[in-house]
């Protein structure tokens, strides 16, 4: 009797083990890191970063086999979906995570910070992101969000002896939990009015007009605002500059690329699967957020004197570019595909160029111990390689062909213009105008490095080239090659990011 009750009470879902293999691999390596820490204590420090990077790369293997297999998979009653979109984003997260490990290796070891725990945190944050890419249900999305956020709060405070790092983490934490609360409230509204946490069910009710407009509108606004914090869209960006500046620089790189991308992945799933039919609700909201983020981010970036803060504001503007296609995504099925491809393309290219920029910042700070723009003066004279690399990444961020960023912006503008609506074209013009504003501050840094002579009265050596650790060099080579390749042969990235979430609706 009891046995039958128990079996009834828990119906084990049919799990597609191949589909969740990347997550399990990552989880396995996270556990292994913990074991290493427990068994070998201090002696384990030597291998943890290698182990973490190996774990991230090993998780790529099942992604490749899944991509080779090609079939869309769905498990856990449809809450967890593996399609091309999810695979591409998982690959972006894992590779970005790998580059972050490369950037962290020397930084964390030489700074005498906790190493084992750092890589455990990093792996679990990446795990959260990888889960997020597949999550198609409100609860899964929320769990993934917390799984990636909580380690990130801790990582932001990793330089625990530095007051600024503590401030960074605390600010990030407070804003983050506040955003989570807002997000949960929005989710509860959506659940309350549709009776389901599955995005496809929500879409059926919401887009079918089966829910009161006011409740849906409020729900969508709260959900979007909740993720607006995560992607640091204006006006929810206020944590970003302080957190970016105070956090250890590799963590900043991680937050600005992977964490932002994870927020976008959730937004994309919600918009395209959850309430795509309610274009009247989310399009104006996205339009306003995108325009405000572009102008707000770029105008504030103009006045920055610190490269990391500058990149924080430029990241706000970049979030604006990426939000822009969502403002026209609901016009037609074709536009929806264009918009999704544009954002995914942008995320992939942005990951390469922004991580590259942070790699240079980390390398230069080893000599100058500073991220002030003034400390970049004359870099070309004494460290031409780093100056050229930084120029490539900055100009890619500005969208100058033939560097990767141009294609990312191009796809955005293409998606905005394709439906031919006045609002779309207007936003396209705003993107164009903002690219010019942004060029000013990127070119200003480039001009400091190339035009100025090295500062004379500083306490660092401005005559010999900066020595770059091997792992940072590897990160530079990887991101630099990707940035150039994406710009010259955009088909390489375009082929992978030509994905669809609304294909099911078309069928």
């Amino acid at each position: 009797m009891l046995g039958s009750v128990l079996t009834l009470a828990f119906e084990r879902p049919a799990i597609d083990w191949h589909a969740v293999a990347p997550e399990l691999t990552l989880l396995g390596f996270g556990a292994l890191l913990t074991l290493v820490d427990i068994v070998w204590l201090e002696r384990g420090r030597a291998v943890v970063s290698a182990l973490a990077s190996f774990g991230l790369l090993a998780s790529m293997v099942p992604i490749l086999t899944l991509a080779w297999d090609g079939a869309d998979r769905s498990t856990f009653w449809g809450a967890y979906v593996i399609d091309d979109y999810a695979l591409v984003m998982k690959a972006v997260f894992l590779l970005a995570g790998y580059v972050v490990v490369l950037l962290s290796t020397n930084y964390i070891a030489e700074g005498d910070y906790w190493e084992n725990e750092y890589y455990q945190m990093l792996l679990s944050a990446v795990l959260g992101m990888v889960v997020m890419a597949s999550a198609r249900d409100l609860v899964t999305i929320f769990v993934a969000l917390e799984l990636l956020s909580i380690p990130a709060y801790l990582m932001a405070t990793w330089r625990k002896r530095d007051l600024r790092s503590n401030e960074a983490g605390l600010k990030y934490y407070l804003m983050g939990v506040f955003a989570s609360a807002v997000l949960l409230y929005g989710m509860s509204l959506l659940y309350g009015t549709t009776g389901s946490t599955m995005l496809t069910d929500i879409d059926a009710v919401v887009s079918g007009g089966g829910a009161p407009l006011a409740v849906v509108t409020l729900g969508v606004i709260f959900v979007v605002v909740g993720f607006g914090f995560k992607v640091s869209a204006f006006p929810f960006h206020t944590w970003a500059p302080d957190t970016y500046e105070g956090a250890p620089t590799p963590v900043t790189a991680f937050l600005s690329v992977a964490s932002k991308a994870a927020g976008f992945v959730a937004l994309l799933s919600l918009v395209f699967v959850g309430f795509w039919g309610r274009a009247d609700v989310y399009q104006p909201l996205m339009w306003a957020l995108a325009a405000a983020s572009m102008f707000g981010g770029n105008l504030m970036a103009l006045r920055q004197t610190n490269v990391v803060r500058l990149l924080a504001y430029s990241g706000v503007a970049q979030a604006g570019y990426m939000l822009a296609p969502l403002a026209v995504a609901g016009e037609s099925l074709a536009t929806a595909d264009d918009a999704l491809s544009a954002v995914v393309t942008y995320l992939a290219i942005y990951a390469a160029m922004n991580l590259g920029a942070f790699a240079v910042i980390i390398a230069v700070a080893r000599r100058t111990a500073s991220a002030e723009i003034g400390s970049y003066k004359g870099l070309f004279r004494y460290s031409p390689g780093l100056a050229v690399a930084m120029t490539i990444f900055l100009m890619a961020l500005a969208g100058i062909p033939p560097l990767g960023g141009w294609y990312a912006k191009f796809e955005i503008v293409l998606a905005l213009i394709s439906p031919g609506t006045a609002w779309g074209v207007a936003l396209g013009v705003i993107v164009a105008v903002n690219s010019v504003i942004a060029l000013y501050y990127y070119a200003r840094i480039a001009s400091h490095m190339w035009v100025e002579t090295p500062p004379e009265s500083v306490d660092f050596d401005t005559t010999t080239p900066i020595k770059v650790p091997t792992s940072v060099t590897a990160a530079l080579v990887l991101t630099g090659a990707a940035t150039l390749a994406f710009g010259i042969l955009p088909q390489w990235v375009g082929h992978f990011t030509d994905v669809s979430l609304v294909a099911a609706l078309a069928g």
Binding site: P384, T391, P402, W406, A432, L439, W450, Q491, G494
Partner: protein, 515 residues
């Protein structure tokens, strides 16, 4: 050989300089001599391939694209790697391929402060790839990418090796041109989405410039064409530069190192006018017709304004820069008539201006090196101290003011003449007024050039330079760099058909398909 040229010729001529730049990156900066030789080799190799292409070019069919390559590039947006050479591209490509090696030769012992020949030559070669690529690209996105590739090298050339105010000038150049090209890209995208096949009425969704000039804006509403043309107008107009977008030019020219000025004046400005001829006018005939009177107006304002500004300059280099504004006004006036006569004149004007003004900037650079100043007030008596250089300056000034028998004449005179009878549908009286105003502009041009000549070359040397040992006559490297240009000025002046015969079939072809 012909097979190779057909399949690989244009790709090779475009990318050989880039390959040279990549090789140079691997050479240590201390090997200055080797680096210079490599740069010269790369630019000469490109010139040789260009020469072979020109020998193999079928001049009987100059109106059609030859050596065309059509390969996959970015499939997701249906953009392809399409290159092709016709009568419009050929003279401009040839100009680029000649000017860059001459700049390399000139820089042999003229590396501007703060040195670093390695970076200087690498940037020059990257520039060459961008410029040649722009002239042979036949896909809008490919064109856009090449068009933008030139920005960064020029930004650094002005920013690193420029004069005192180089930071301001370089960023201004960069921002202005990027602003233009951002709007230009929007227009390209609008063309992509709106162009339809006239036979079937279906959306084409292509960036293929050959197809887009054939359909010539079919299916795009007249009012929409006007807007799309406006975007291109700003994009190309900034580059030309047309009044009122010209303000970056005097700053950029004044601050740029000599070779930067030469490349900027001789070739970069032509990217803008080439864009009008190749893209804006044939692809949007209705938009062009609506804008033509305004383009003509801005062109003649540019002619008069440039000339008046020249008369007020105290700096020789700045004067030449403003004369560029005036000369490009003639080119734009020719284009604004929308006739094959006017556009032929415009293309001739581009080449002639490239040779002549490029030469003037070379001279300005050499003057600066000898006198350490370009302030016209302090110069004088060059004919006494450096007679050959003084005579060359006189000769080039004559060419620049449009003396018949020299190349400058065939750029200006037909352009003015073409305004007498603009294309059908354009206001004849307005264009005839422009014609008169432009003619007045040539008188002003004679005024400022002769005045410049009088103040710098004639008279007795000023006391401060009378005994200067720096003031020497033309050196050997200068001769090598300058003679080809001087020969070109005479050659094209005496035999303008060399260019007109090549451009005419292509121009007629573009306009016919557009009609």
């Amino acid at each position: 050989m012909t097979d190779f040229l057909n399949d690989w010729g244009l790709t090779a001529v475009t990318f050989v300089p880039l390959v040279g730049a990549l090789v140079m990156m691997a050479v240590p900066a201390a090997e200055e001599r080797l680096l210079k030789q490599l740069a010269l080799l790369a630019s000469l190799a490109a010139m040789a391939i260009g020469g072979l292409l020109m020998l193999d070019f079928d001049y009987g069919k100059a109106g059609s694209l030859q050596f065309a390559v059509d390969a996959r590039w970015i499939e997701v947006i249906n953009s392809r790697y399409i290159l092709g050479l016709d009568g419009i591209s050929l003279p401009l490509m040839a100009l680029t391929l000649v000017v860059v090696p001459l700049c390399v030769i000139y820089s042999w012992d003229h590396i501007p402060e703060p040195g670093n020949p390695k970076a200087f030559f690498i940037l020059m070669l990257i520039l060459e790839t961008g410029m040649v690529g722009t002239f042979v690209a036949q896909d809008l996105i490919l064109f856009f990418v090449f068009f933008e590739v030139v920005l960064l090298p020029m930004f650094f050339m002005i920013g690193v090796w420029g004069g005192e105010n180089r930071r301001y000038a370089s960023i201004k150049f960069f921002l202005f041109t990027l602003f233009g090209s951002a709007l230009m890209l929007l227009s390209f995208l609008a063309l992509f989405f709106l162009s339809t096949d006239p036979a079937t009425g279906e959306s084409l969704r292509t960036f293929d410039m050959r197809v887009l000039s054939d359909v010539a804006g079919a299916g795009i509403l007249n009012s929409t064409q006007v807007w799309i043309f406006a975007g291109m107008f700003i994009g190309f107009g900034v580059k030309v530069p047309m009044f009122p977008f010209h303000t970056w030019l005097p700053d950029a020219h004044t601050e740029a190192p000599t070779v930067g000025s030469v490349i900027l004046a001789a070739i970069l400005l032509k990217l803008g006018t080439y864009g009008f001829v190749r893209i804006a006018v044939p692809m949007l005939p209705d938009g062009a017709e609506a804008w033509a009177p305004w383009i003509g107006l801005l062109a003649v304002i540019g002619i008069i304004y440039g000339a008046l500004a020249c008369l007020a300059q105290t700096d020789m280099k700045r004067l030449i820069a403003f004369s560029s504004v005036a000369h490009m006004g003639f080119v734009m006036l020719g284009i604004a008539t929308l006739t094959d006569f006017g556009i032929n004149a415009a293309i001739f004007g581009m080449v002639a201006h490239g040779i002549i003004t490029g030469m003037l900037f070379f001279l300005a650079g050499s003057v600066k090196e000898r006198y350490h100043t370009l302030e016209i007030r302090r110069l004088g008596g060059m004919l006494v101290q450096a007679p050959r250089m003084g005579w060359i300056l006189g000769f080039v000034s004559m060419a620049s003011l449009g003396l018949p028998g020299l190349a400058g004449f065939w750029g200006e005179f037909p352009a003015i003449l073409s305004a007498y009878s603009p294309a059908e549908g354009l206001p004849v009286e307005t264009f005839r007024t422009y014609m008169v105003v432009a003619a007045v502009g040539t008188v002003l041009a004679a005024g400022y050039l002769l005045w410049l000549l009088q103040r710098t070359a004639m008279g007795a040397p000023k006391a401060e330079f009378a005994d200067s040992e720096d003031v020497v006559d033309v050196t050997r490297t200068e001769w090598i760099a300058w003679v080809p240009l001087l020969v070109g000025i005479i050659l094209f002046g005496l035999a303008p058909g060399l260019i007109f015969d090549v451009t005419d079939p292509a121009v007629v072809g573009l306009l016919v398909s557009g009609g």
